[in-house]
Amino acid sequence: MTPAVAEAAIRDFHDTFAAVRREVGKVVVGHAPAIDVILTAFFAGGHVLIEGVPGIGKTLIVRSLAEALNLSFNRIQFTVDLMPADITGTRVINEGADGRREFHFVPGPVFAHVLLADEINRATPKTQSALLEAMAEQQVTVAGTSHVLAPPFFVLATLNPIEMEGTYQLPEAQLDRFLVKVVLAYPSQAELERILSSTTTAELPVVSPVLARETAPERVEALRRLVRQVLVAPHVDRYVATLVRRTVPASGETDEALARYVTYGSSPRGGQALLLCAKVLALLDGRPHVTFEDVDAMALPALRHRLVMNFAADAAGVDSAHVIERVLAAAGRLRA
């Protein structure tokens, strides 16, 4: 492989990313950093958990992303009475022309390239866990039969932080399967004015597909493979490992002031997520290798939902973002 080919691949990745970003930006006002993180997680091959108040544009972001990428899109509104089969699909009895009856699998909404799991914390843990296999192994098993999900498979779940009545906390195992967690802030005055003006007119903005429908899945998969080709030097690996271990109180490397607020730290999957996202940032910067700055930039979204904080943290008003910032500051001195 010649340098020119690699450089062209990086340029293609960068152009695709920028085009998708631009199309999503047509309909989504503001939230630019959140959109960047979501797209980064998408090209890194992970799933995204979005936390934000209702009406802030969570669904719009996901839908416009699917439209821009020209991928299939499904939405599941999670409720208390939602059953696992409502997600994965179920088997129904079909009677053939010859009168024979046989079970036939009807795929659920999970069979899509882009899946929006809206207000995922409203479903019971049993239903929530129905997504586990799909998210981790890109397949669902119904009645003993595994059905592979067509790549790319991208889950974008939303959480409503203010309506906690009748909700179920997401289990840590499921949280860990999200590559990043994005917190959508309330739009600013200027953004709100733009939202009002752009969404109440007769001519609504339309998202144009960036990729051809027939080749979109393959193109996305190729881009995802390209991300994994990005070079990571051992010193960056060490840095990521240090960051992750410093969030784990049991490792003994955590700052004592922080260790008393954290019950469980990040899993190794957090390190993987961090490095994959950093690779995307490296490509966007035109580099074939990851730097410390790439890692630092993605540390918060990649690790914040993996830290289990205790009551002392709640009482002291310390959240996971605070812990990660402190860990980054301490680790930054190590890399100098």
Partner: protein, 425 residues
Amino acid sequence: MRDRSRDEAIEVLRRQMRAVRRRWNLLALQRVLYLLIATAATGAAFVVLLALRARASVFVVASWSIAGGVLAAASWVVRDGARRWLPTARAPAWIDARAGLRGRVATLAELGAGARTFFGPLLVEQNARRAEDWRPHRLLPDAVPLAPLLAALLATSVFFALLVFAPRLAPAPAAIVVSDAPVGPLAAVDADDVEPARVVVARAAAEERTDSDPARLGREGESVEGEPVLEHVASRLPRSLRDRIRDRLWGPAARATGTAVEMDRSRRDRSTARPSGTRARDSDDDARWQVARRPPPPDATTARAGGPGARGDGSPRGDDPSRSGSGTGNGGSGAGTATDPNLFGAASAAENGHATFDLPLAARVHALGSGPRPPSGDAPPAAPDAAPALAARPRRDAPVLRMTVPAAYEGLVRQVFAHHGTESP
């Protein structure tokens, strides 16, 4: 073929890394060296300056403080040098940060030939493309660290200038005068006078002391019981250093003067701090330094030139206007400056080599002289450095007994007592 060229490119980049590292480490070494020189020279300059100008007690404290400061600064310089030292493992990351290469060199250095992946060639090519940006002479344009070098030069220049100009800081050499008579405290001596005109070595007169006065440790080196006390090494070393510096730069005479000044000062300090209700202390046989204040000009110039004050007769110098410009300088205490040429009368003709002197050894001799001139104008202020023990009162005039000189010795006696001065009798 392509792999070989890539390996060669990697090797070129590695060589460049080593060159940058060597250059930086050389700079770091020079920096440490220059800063150490600057630190040492600055400390030495302060020590020399204090040794020449400060009191001994101040010098003891200051010299240890300077030594501590120099040690602290030197350790900081060495630690800083160690921190700046670039080991092989850290060199690529340092080059990246210095040249703004965003981790390219560090990644290539660590992955090296192992970077045979999709992006490996691109990484090598990007590094080769930007190799010009971090050439040793471009990344580190200065061959020597200018600021530390200037600091070292400045400090050493100050130090050597101090050595060169140190003799100008020397006080006028005081005459060392030895006296048999005991001397008491000279109240008129200025406490800040470090340039005495004369140092009198004599036995100390009786002093007032109390039994309970801790200042009974009046004489250095003695305890209350009279047992010798060893001076602490923390004090002895700086004093020794100060003496050496003064000896080397000013000569031993100045050292003696300085020592006398300090001993006199400390003695007077003790006297000042002594409470009332004291009793007389027996005089001892120890020699005691006394310091006489420099007389007012123009006699001071005469004293510095080794004039009458340096005669070694213990008499006060420069406070007698009649003696200015006498030029002889060999008279006895209280004697005049001229001799009667006919002191012994006419010479006899007899030559008898076996004859003896009629003049007894204890005979008193009165020298005729011009005597002091009558004062004119306002009376000058009393000489504060008058030594009452040496010249408490004028000597009573006594007649000179004429004696008979044997003829055989007449010529010799005339020759011995002949007046060779220019002054008329």
